[in-house]
């Protein structure tokens, strides 16, 4: 086939035929090699968590992608297109600059603590005096998970990436990861009874513009309760949580075991 092969004749038919296929082959192999090299480079640069988060985000239903300003009623019905990265969002910057007073929000019976910042993957972050931050599960997620069978925390010294997996938990048949609101190094591990799950030393100055607090966080949790009811009732055909009352401490009991993995995945933003 190639020059050097005894059958090879340098005529137009051979050149066109073999040239066309060589071009297609080189294009296919080149594209494949490009994808592999790009993937390796992205992993080496520590971009894996960001890529994974964006991929997960695109698969989330619209109800899970509400803009923070939609939650507060400032921009009703608006959905986030930036994977909850408010840092580069012009709309967010404009609204913060305008500093419109937020309407009063019913917390729906959940605790929103003043010293915490909330990620929409249901992790909270608290800035400590020593420059570290502590991470934990917000009130809704804590009640939703109930008694976790296994809490798979990263070891001290491991690195977390913003929007990458912070830790994993297993409850019955459900296995789900919780997204980290911050990039940094794990300096201490806690537990469900210790008030925090991880203590992290952030990489560089802490940027919390993408996180929610105060009434924004309360509005978020209130909206999340609606989403939870839809997630449960979708499979069962009837609302599983009573409207009008306060949520019970252990919401996990309201979710049938066979649906728990799906519901936890939907609520903790894991496709």
């Amino acid at each position: 086939m190639l020059p050097g092969n005894t059958d090879f004749i340098l005529d137009p038919a051979n050149v066109i035929f073999l040239g066309a296929f060589a071009l297609v082959l080189v294009t296919a192999l080149g594209t494949l090699a490009f994808a592999i090299v790009s993937a390796r480079r992205a992993v080496a640069r520590g971009q894996a968590a960001s890529i994974l988060w964006h991929e997960e985000f695109e698969e989330l239903p619209a109800s899970a992608r509400s803009c923070r300003h939609a939650l507060t009623g400032e921009l009703p019905g608006r959905h986030c297109e930036r994977a909850f990265d408010c840092k580069g969002c012009e709309t967010h910057a404009r609204l913060v600059a305008d500093a419109k007073p937020l309407p009063s929000i019913d917390t729906g019976g959940f605790f929103v603590l003043a010293d915490r910042l909330y990620h929409r993957g249901h992790a909270w972050l608290k800035q400590e005096e020593d420059g570290t931050v502590t991470l934990g599960l917000d009130d809704l997620a804590t009640r939703l998970v109930g008694k976790s069978d296994t809490l798979d925390l990263p070891a001290v010294g491991e690195r977390l990436a913003e929007n990458g997996p912070a830790f994993r938990l297993k409850a019955g048949k459900a296995r789900v990861r919780v997204v980290s609101p911050v990039s940094g190094e794990v300096v201490e591990t806690g537990g469900l009874g210790r008030g925090f799950l991880l203590r992290v030393r952030p990489d560089g100055p802490l940027d919390t513009r993408a996180l929610l607090s105060g009434r924004e966080a309360a509005a978020f949790l209130s909206r999340e309760l609606d989403r939870l009811q839809l997630a449960i009732s979708g499979a069962r055909g009837v609302p599983a949580l009573a409207d009008g009352g306060l949520p019970v401490d252990d919401l996990s009991k309201a979710i049938p075991e066979e649906d728990r993995d799906r519901v936890l995945g939907e609520m903790l933003l894991e496709a």
Binding site: N14, F21, I51
Partner: protein
């Protein structure tokens, strides 16, 4: 273990029941592999083919599955190049079906050539003037492209995607998928066409020979068009079938509507062109060679009904049905129309392969009949077994239908 491989929110049958479902298909595959062993160990005398009837059940199978598997390239073309976003709901399944069809075809070809260890000869000593050389190059390249397109589906398995590097690779592959969709379209265009051209250039066989446009016989274009037309119908049919077997809603009705409309319009254009081609062949091409077309249909069971069935009953009728809004509104009729369209291309490939070889092409020739040996049938069924096995495993552990979870939640 099995639970952790199944996608979140997807309901699958219990593992023992799934394994039981696989048993008959695995048995078919095993029987076929034994037949393949006999062909390799004893020789191609295990088949009922000979020098005169050199194309049999296997080549017919190849042509058929390659035509039906066109849904993969055509759906990819519509989604990635023409941006028909609604087809995202079936693209994963289309890729798996395409991979099964093409790998099955290549597997059978390896048996058919008798000496698979010398398969590389075709690449090293190609006859560039042969349609078959182009088919071989395109098939192998396209199968490689399909394997690359399959890879992201596997990498997105629930367990595998927990490995960051693999999901990043999946992400990067997804970004360049438009290139592979383009390559797949180009390769499919030429090998579907060359498979048709293979018959249209047979000057010594008036039944198969057709007029040429440029260097290509009309069958070149008709094969491309027929494959593109029935590809979406086959995707529709298989999606419906998988939904019935698994008792699940896999795609929204709008997806079926889109597939049906695309298939219907292309089939209509194909039938018109096929009709024109047949009229030219009947009134000009064949008489010029000294043979009247009526003589081709004088050998039972190949009567004129074959032509009617191919062009009208399984061509025009399903095209009109697929284009009718009232038919599309009723799933039963829609699926029937898609099945008829697929049957039409199956019959076309049968006629082009078997009837072409059965008819006498020289004055002293006689009409030949051919029945495949059990080894040929077993190898044929092995492709079916292999296909069902691979599709079943993919359906269980990979997310073939992105809308499935949402549709299940809606109830």
């Amino acid at each position: 273990m099995d639970d952790t491989l199944i996608g979140r929110g997807l309901k699958r049958t219990p593992l023992p029941r799934f394994l039981l479902w696989l048993v008959p298909w695995a048995a078919l595959l095993a029987l076929g592999l034994y037949a393949v062993y006999l062909c390799f160990a004893v020789g191609l005398n295990q088949t009922n083919m000979d020098n005169r009837f050199a194309f049999g059940l296997w080549i017919y199978l190849d042509l058929t599955v390659i035509a039906l598997g066109a849904g993969a390239f055509f759906t990819g073309f519509l989604l990635y190049i023409l941006k028909k976003k609604e087809l995202k709901a079936v693209i994963n399944s289309a890729v798996v079906i395409g991979f099964i069809c093409y790998s099955g075809a290549v597997g059978i070809l390896m048996v058919d050539v008798g000496q698979p260890l010398r398969a590389w000869f075709t690449f090293w000593h190609p006859n560039v003037h042969s349609m078959l050389a182009e088919v071989t190059f395109c098939l192998t390249l396209y199968l490689s492209v399909l394997a690359i397109e399959y890879a992201p589906l596997v990498l997105k398995n629930r367990r595998l995607k927990e490995v960051p590097g693999l999901l990043v690779l999946e992400n990067q592959l997804h970004k360049v998928m438009v290139v592979f969709a383009g390559i797949g379209t180009l390769l499919s265009f030429f090998h579907q066409g060359s498979l048709g051209g293979l018959y249209g250039v047979l000057r010594g066989n008036p039944f198969a020979f057709r007029e040429h446009i440029g260097i290509w016989p009309t069958t070149f274009f008709l094969f491309i068009l027929s494959a593109a037309a029935v590809g979406p119908s086959f995707i529709l049919l298989t999606t419906w079938l998988v939904g019935k077997v698994s008792k699940k809603r896999l795609v929204s009705p709008e997806v079926f509507q889109t597939l049906a409309k695309i298939s219907g319009w292309l089939l209509l254009v194909y039938v018109v062109l096929k009709g024109i081609d047949s009229l030219v062949w009947i009134n000009s091409t064949s008489p010029k060679t000294g043979v009247q077309v009526s003589s081709f249909y004088a050998h039972p069971p190949f009567g004129t009904w074959v032509l009617f069935a191919e062009v009208v009953l399984l061509g025009l009728v399903p095209a009109v049905m697929l284009l009718s809004r009232r038919v599309r509104a009723r799933t039963g009729l829609l699926v029937l129309a898609a099945a008829m369209a697929c049957a039409g291309v199956v019959l076309n490939r049968y006629i082009m392969t078997i009837q072409t070889l059965a008819l006498p092409s020289l004055p002293f020739d006689s009409f030949l009949s051919y029945s495949p040996s059990w080894q040929e049938i077993a190898a044929f069924l092995a492709v079916l077994g292999y296909g069902v096995l691979l599709y079943s495993i993919s359906f269980r552990w990979l997310n073939l239908f992105p809308e499935e979870r949402e549709l299940a939640t809606k109830g």
